[in-house]
């Protein structure tokens, strides 16, 4: 079950710096571990995380096999205008989750 948690302020003043914090449910299987029969467990990780704010990509991150399961990603952005913040996780085996939060800028 794809499942993410996003914690972001609902409102902000124009020009204020806000923090967006996210948790995504994902095993982040490295591809280097051997299974019970000695064969490698195939890699299954989140490859990319991106955040767009008002249609512009403001934060993007590539993830590697060294990152732990259920990755926690936190970053800051400057509140400019009221608009949707779209968070997107994509990865191996067609993993794709999108979550939208709206920031009200006064």
């Amino acid at each position: 079950m794809a499942n993410v948690l996003v914690s972001a302020p609902k409102q902000a003043r124009a020009g204020e710096i806000v923090e967006i914090r996210t948790l995504a449910s994902h095993p982040m299987e490295t591809g280097f571990r051997a299974g019970t029969n000695g064969t490698l467990i195939p890699r299954d990780i989140v490859r990319e995380f991106s955040c767009s704010y008002g249609g512009v990509t403001v934060f993007r991150m590539e993830l590697s096999p060294a990152i732990a399961a259920n990755p926690y990603i936190a970053f800051h952005l400057r509140a400019r205008e009221t608009g949707p913040i779209v968070l997107r996780w994509t990865g191996d085996n067609g993993f794709s989750v999108e979550e939208t939060v709206t920031l009200q800028v006064a």
């Binding site: 079950m1 499942n3 948690l5 914690s7 948790l23 449910s25 259920n70 926690y72």
Partner: protein, 258 residues
Amino acid sequence: MRRIAALLAAVFVASLALAQTPPADPRRSGYADMAPAVRAMQDDDAANPAMLWVAEGRALWSKPEGTAGAACATCHGVAERSMTGVAARYPAWAPAAGAPATLERRVGLCRELHQGRPADAPGEARARLALLAYVALQSRGLPISPPADRRLDDARAAGEALFERRLGQLNLACAHCHSDNDGRRLAGAAIPQAHPTAYPLYRLEWQDLGSLQRRLRNCVVGIRAEPWPADDPHWVALELHLTHRARGMTLEAPGVRP
């Protein structure tokens, strides 16, 4: 003269008050010995990975399932009200099983009997863990209060004996580490007093949420003993003893441990 008498009386009263303060509780939750970063992770719901399971559990709570087409909410209503304090008193007697049961077994029984679902795979079924985390959250901050139920006495006594009994190739009992050497270190890891204050919890070593039974299985394998099958009465007996030992301590579930 009168002033001296008053002073003496005051000193006497103060010394009485001192003598009456109960000694500080020597029991420590594993939380107290964690690194500040891990503690911060547990304290902050936006950073605690166990909250992912809680979110799944919340969704499952009101989802009709099985041949009965019933959701947990059909019988139990709002979890925030009906499940308050439930996790603090388990393991408890389960009439459907005619035996003491852990909370995850009880959740599983409910799903089989009242929802008419096929039984979950034994052990750590994801949906059962998610519901367990959601139910446990409703008791966060409450004292652990095992029920005074005479039907649990035999199993609790068996658990206490088991805690002291040597097992496995390393020939160690639980007590050898957790009562005799708690607070010291085993290689790099701190030895806790083994109070189950935060289960189910997210263990960084597992990169996963796990129940108390999984943690106990870990310890049993660690002393090179053969673990009992999932949901075996031995696990329930041990849990009964551990919750009795930790009675009155605050439940932190769902916690984070290194």
